[in-house]
């Protein structure tokens, strides 16, 4: 398709705005769902007053957040303080680009899509470190260091786990991985990989039981303690965009994504993603938080060897299947 230069850039801007809007709406929905699910688990009713059964609560919250004053600590490093939330939010949104939402609905079918999805969140770490450092506050700084240490540690077993899927599919493209699961989803062939992916993903996106960086009882709110208003909202957005991306990517890698009878692919993907998201929320309100040192020990002494063993196991399965 040939387009003139200004038109191409306008289209690019529109795509960007659309992505941001979609992620915003997604976050609103997820936050509401999380509040309702947590209420259910804890025997409460959750938000009820704004809209029918509190359905408009998060919309109201978002309006409130955008209108709040943007406070910056006097001793904070201004540039880094502004850059932090951006570097956290942008990669989280960018990582959605390679998820195949249905046959034509993939923004970019990179032939290294799987690797791209694993690589892009790495930029987030820079944002977390900057936000923690720039805030000029002990809690923020410790939170930033902890969360990046956690991220880097869990990135390794997570990547090694995804390698098993790539080995079986024989391609790094997310669309090819999906096509390879036309008959059997990889969760059946590689159940251990699926389990490892889910656990390491929870750790990588800093969710309970692995949310040390934000442990309220010890660190107030971790790296975003000093943030307010829209910049704080960006952190929130990034967290839920990351949660959604991890679930959708898991659904594509292990549950066959949009593959399924009768219904259109996007519905199947939505159902599978929602199931994974629900499990994530369920875990959050069921398990207690780990301690920081336990978490790191778990990463290096349990998950890393386990993912290496899993790699060998996958190779053996491949041999047995004769592919």
């Amino acid at each position: 398709m040939e387009m003139s230069l200004p038109l191409t850039f306008a289209a690019g801007l529109l795509w960007g705005a659309a992505a941001f809007t979609i992620v915003g709406a997604l976050t609103a929905g997820l936050v509401l769902a999380e509040r309702k699910v947590s209420a259910r688990i804890q025997g409460r009713v959750g938000p009820m007053h704004t809209g029918p059964h509190g359905a408009l609560q998060t919309i109201a919250d978002m309006i409130k957040l955008v209108m709040k004053e943007d406070v910056r600590p006097a001793r904070a490093d201004a540039t880094a303080f502004r850059l932090g939330p951006l570097l956290v939010a942008v990669p989280a949104i960018l990582s959605l680009a390679v998820i195949p939402f249905g046959a034509p609905l993939v923004m970019r079918d990179l032939n290294v899509g799987v690797l791209y999805f694993l690589a892009i969140p790495g930029v987030t770490v820079i944002g977390l470190l900057l936000a923690g450092w720039a805030s000029y506050d002990n809690y923020s700084f410790l939170g930033g260091l902890r969360s990046s240490a956690q991220f880097i540690s869990y990135e390794i077993p997570r990547s090694l786990t995804v390698v098993t899927v790539v080995m079986l599919a024989g391609s790094l493209s997310t669309v090819d991985v999906l096509d390879a699961q036309a008959t059997v989803p990889y969760a059946v062939l590689l159940p251990f990989s699926f389990f490892l992916y889910c656990v390491t993903s929870l750790a990588e996106i800093n969710r309970l039981p692995f949310d040390m960086p934000e442990a309220e009882s010890e660190l107030v709110a971790g790296y975003h303690t000093e943030y307010s208003g829209f910049r704080w909202a960006l952190f929130f957005l990034a967290e839920y965009a990351g949660f959604f991306a991890a679930a959708a990517f898991g659904a594509v890698l292990f549950l066959g994504g949009g593959n399924g009878p009768l219904l259109p692919p996007i519905v199947w993907l939505a159902v599978k993603t929602a199931a994974l998201l629900f499990i994530g929320m369920w875990i959050r309100f069921t398990l207690p938080r780990f301690r920081a040192d336990q978490l790191m020990r778990l990463a290096w002494k349990v998950f890393l060897p386990a993912s290496l063993a899993n790699l060998v196991l996958a190779a053996l399965i491949m041999r047995a299947l004769g592919s």
Binding site: E2, A80, V112, L115, A119, P121
Partner: protein, 167 residues
């Protein structure tokens, strides 16, 4: 030349400007934190150039290893040592030797890039990943394994140094 090629050329130049600007800023600024961030911008822009040169794999690996790894490591080192005030250039004993070495290396890179037949923007094969994988486990197996051994040696060295300091 078609429009899409035009756009690719334009993006290539834009990324080039960001890369050059980032690199210059990284060596010119006095704040170590800013220097590292500028380095990150430079490395990201270079990844963009790789992508436009149809080296998708290289672009993603550049982000994975350099931006998500090396830059983060540098930030960690900066924050844990809390030496953000002092510029690393102040620690160089022989600036003349350093400058001379940089010029020699820079000239070598320039000479290499001018004499090598580089592909034009947008050219390249789709199975570059395949070719790279085959090369790494085929003709380049020796260098690949050697790098692995060097990395292992450096990990062990780091462990030994940490242990000695603890005693």
């Amino acid at each position: 030349m078609t429009e899409s090629q035009n756009i690719e050329q334009l993006l290539f130049v834009a990324f080039g400007i960001v890369a050059a600007g980032g690199a210059l800023f990284a060596v010119a600024t006095r704040s170590l934190l800013r220097s590292i961030i500028a380095l990150g911008a430079f490395l990201t822009a270079v990844a963009g150039e790789f992508y436009l040169l149809a080296a998708d794999f290289l672009a993603v690996v550049q982000i994975f290893v350099y931006v998500g790894g090396i830059v983060v490591l540098m930030l960690f080192a900066l924050m844990l040592s809390a030496s953000g005030v002092r510029h690393p250039m102040a620690a160089i004993d022989r600036p003349a030797l350093g400058a001379a070495l940089s010029y020699v290396i820079g000239a070598g890179v320039l000479w290499g890039s001018l004499t090598t037949d580089l592909p034009s923007v947008g050219a390249g094969t789709d199975d570059a990943v395949d070719a790279l994988g085959r090369a790494l486990l085929g003709s380049q197996l020796w260098s690949f394994e050697l790098i692995g051994v060097i990395l292992l040696a450096s990990v062990i060295t780091a462990l030994v140094i940490v242990r000695r300091e603890r005693r």
